[in-house]
Amino acid sequence: MNKPYLRWIVYAVLLAGLIAFPRVASRYWTDVAVFFGIYVILGLSLNLILGEVGLFNMGHAAFFAIGAYTTAILSTQYGVPLAWLFPLSGIVAGLFAYVVTRPIIHLRGDYLLIVTIGLNEIIRIALINNPWGLTGGPNGLLVLDRFTLFGWSARTPADFYYLTWGFIVLIVIALVRLQNSRIGRAWNYVREDEVAAAAMGIDVRWAKSLAFTLGAGLAGAAGTLYAAKIRIISPDSFTFSESVILFTIVVLGGLGSIPGVIVAAGALMVLPEIFRDFMEYRMLVFGAAMIVMMIFRPQGLWPSRRWVRELETETTPGSAGSPPKPGAAAPAARSDA
């Protein structure tokens, strides 16, 4: 896309399609599009952590859960309107992430991965055990309030559709701006080489912490949307397999790639809907597809341009025996394990 006006035409067509969709599609598919949208937000939020900074977070569902439960608890017990809870859940989830990741943020690669899985499990077990009678145990909580904004309230699937996708358009713009900012470049630098980044004056800890906080905050806000839409939340919605799906969305889409996340979320959410008739075999095929996709498209469905440039410089002869560089922690561990 060398011609700039072509790019704007593509954007205009996409936006028109986005607006027209619920008028054309059935209620059922509009609903599917809402959940697809929620996964897009979650994928984008994890992409900040995993894609941009390369922090292996496989417990992202925990932050989503914090957002959804904050919404449900404050809404039912204290009558806080859902529209206020939208930012508030994000702030709570972000603060939570900031506090809990502080002591573990220095952990590398797979160590961070296992700790975030553990975090996910701790949250899920805590929700099931109903601390102080807040979370409703295994049955979860009901959300009775409706999402109301300036007198407009979300009732039909189309309302939720516009709410979700309107929010996505806003955050995509914000995230693209962020990617090209000082912060975005610092994040990528940390991902590629922590030591060099630190030597260039980047506060590595701060950069990682910021990514975790922002990513978790966004996931928390997605939690409010989810709670408002589905109206009953239970610990089953925030299991490790949820985190695995989000992790897969980001890697499958292409690390650090915003369009990649959207395409991958679509593939993972919409394709199973199409193959509903093969219920029993669905997950079998899903697992096989994950392997096949990684073998034939390791760079992701829609790799980010920065990433492609890096991959091209990676394939130097003589490196056949050792894993390529972008693993960050891998080469360090390789030589002196």
């Binding site: 296992i114 701790i122 897969t248 997950m283 697992g287 096989a288 760079q299 891998a330 394990a337």
Partner: protein, 301 residues
């Protein structure tokens, strides 16, 4: 005595099973720097293969007998080792030189695939494990009570762990495994066939996991197709606690985790016992980032 020794014995039994599973994780990680997420599923498959054999014609009519159990465990180990080698060939080898996250996702895919294959083969319900082949009875040793089952599990696990330890430390092939873990390129220059070593690791790890699967079935008397993930996660936690990539570390970590979990269940709360395990893991990683017996690896650049 009383609750403490009882939970200690329960913990050691469970811990020795965790240790067997953890060895599979730690060996694969040591050689390939890959968390083999499918390993928990291989363990689960071992339990199901053992289940099928014990329920089949072959076992009917046979009374309690250690020989029969040994044959079943061995058969499960062989069957699951074949699956393990296949998983490596299909899902991991093509990705050996690509970004490590792609291998992680491929491993997760293999895990989902195997789990659902088991669901389709053996059904969604819990299966009651046939335990009539295990000799009944209780023993007392130094004032501590064991059941025969616990004794068999502990002895078998200990035997397998010692066998592995001597294999890796004292044989030429074991030396090749250790060399490969340190540096693939140099090992290759020394004439070691890396592919063979990786294949061997994918025979040993899954075979140990399968033995652990049969033990869990016999010990808890029921199995389910989703159990691979829960035990796999605990075992991986144990491997990290001991220092990932370190074989004695996985053994120590497994036993420690089993004991801590059972003591936590006995004294604190059994509803929170799984959370307890992860809290300990996080605490340990903050204090000793490379595990109990781990070498300082990741921070060298």
């Amino acid at each position: 005595m009383g609750i403490f020794t009882e939970q200690l014995i329960n913990g050691l039994t469970l811990g020795s099973i965790y240790a067997l599973i953890a060895l599979g994780y730690t060996m694969v990680y040591g050689i390939m720097r890959l968390i083999n997420f499918a390993h928990g599923e291989l363990f689960m498959l071992g339990a199901y293969v053992g289940f099928t054999l014990l329920m089949s014609q072959f076992a009917t009519g046979a009374g309690p007998g250690l020989l029969l159990l040994a044959v079943v465990v061995l058969a499960a180990m062989i069957a699951v080792a074949l699956v393990g080698v296949t998983v490596e060939r299909v899902a991991y080898r093509p990705l050996r030189h690509s970004h490590r996250l792609t291998a992680v996702v491929s491993a997760l895919g293999a895990s989902i695939l195997l789990q659902n294959a088991a669901m389709l083969l053996w059904g969604k319900r819990y299966q009651a494990y046939p335990v009539e082949f295990v000799p009944a009875g209780r023993f007392e040793l130094l004032g501590v009570h064991f059941t025969a089952m616990q004794l068999i599990i502990l002895a078998t696990a200990l035997f397998l762990m010692l066998a592995l330890y001597f294999f890796v430390q004292r044989t030429a092939i074991g030396m090749a495994i250790r060399a490969t873990a340190i540096d693939h390129d140099t090992a290759r220059l020394m004439g070691i066939d890396i592919n063979q070593i990786i294949r061997l690791v994918f025979v040993i790890g899954p075979a140990l996991g399968a033995a652990a699967g049969v033990m869990i079935g016999l010990y808890y008397r029921q199995i389910h197709y989703t159990m691979g993930w829960a035990y796999g996660l605990k075992a991986f936690t144990a491997a990290i606690m001991g220092g990932i990539g370190n074989i004695p570390g996985a053994m120590v970590g497994g036993l420690l985790l089993g004991v801590l979990e059972m003591l936590g269940a006995g004294y604190v709360s059994s509803a929170w016992k799984d959370a307890f395990v992860f809290i300990i893991l996080i605490g340990l990683l903050i204090l000793r980032p490379h595990g109990l017996l781990g070498e300082r690896v990741a921070e060298k650049v």
